[in-house]
């Protein structure tokens, strides 16, 4: 399933389109950046409330398929610019990580 298809199924808002046609192969929930970077797998959809520039760097380095900002957490302007520059897809939802991860689990 691509990030674009995931966006439709989970009714996510697109904040930065980035590489939206990339394949999603799994999911990871977490807000501590070092923890996430050491454990998220390439191709994961990352559910977090961290919308800062360092989260974008972590997503790139851990090779996540996309970031989903849960509970309408905000994306900083710096982070938005960096995501656009680096082709990182950033999505958002009003739902929490638990609900979204459940839905992801049902779709992949």
């Amino acid at each position: 399933m691509t990030v674009r298809e995931l966006t439709e199924k989970l009714e996510l808002n697109i904040l930065v389109e980035g590489d939206i046609d990339r394949e999603v192969t799994g999911g990871y929930c977490g807000d501590l950046l070092s923890w996430v970077m050491g454990r998220a797998q390439g191709g994961d959809c990352w559910f977090t409330v961290m919308g800062n520039i360092n989260a974008i760097a972590v997503s790139v380095l851990a090779d996540c398929a996309c970031i989903v900002l849960c509970e309408n957490a905000t994306l900083d302007d710096d982070a938005k610019n960096r995501a656009e520059m680096q082709g990182v897809c950033v999505l958002s939802s009003e739902e929490n990580a638990y609900t979204l991860a459940n839905k992801l689990g049902e779709t992949i």
Binding site: M37, G38, L61
Partner: protein, 140 residues
């Protein structure tokens, strides 16, 4: 392939630029055709070390040497030094201030992550003088 050498200067206390060195090394390794798992190990370790330079040391220097057999990284700073390296290596131990924690860092995972993702790791640190960290990821 000839050995590749890269050098970066990391400014202190500037979180907007943290990750530039790791991102650049990632791109170089990708362009050179390294295995994605090797690239992941290198960039995770390097990003953690780079963030440490920003948070704790007021910046520093990074030298990376890439050969077909290994990727070696040396990070040097003139920061406060690490009084107890063994304690700093413990998962969950952190001296990061609150403003850094609010950014999502300071979980005490930095040095343990670096150790986990490298094949060799050595820290020389003197309080009041600075720290040099030697890292190596073997490619085969």
């Amino acid at each position: 392939m000839n050995n590749f050498k890269l050098h970066f200067t990391v400014p202190g206390d500037d979180f907007t630029r943290a990750g530039e060195a790791s991102g650049s090394v990632k791109k170089t390794l990708k362009d050179l055709g390294f295995n994605p798992e090797i690239i992941r190990k290198v960039v995770i370790a390097l990003y953690e070390a780079e963030i440490n330079l920003v948070i704790h040391a007021g910046g520093g220097e990074i030298d990376v040497e890439i050969s077909p057999e290994s990727i070696s990284m040396v990070l040097t700073d003139q920061g406060p030094g690490i009084p107890d390296v063994a304690l700093a290596m413990k998962e969950g131990y952190s001296t990061a201030p609150d403003n850094v924690r609010s950014l999502g860092f300071g979980a005490g995972m930095g040095l343990p992550n670096i150790k986990k993702y490298t094949d060799e790791m050595k820290i020389d640190s003197t309080v009041g003088v600075g720290t040099t960290m030697y890292l190596k990821v073997i490619t085969s």
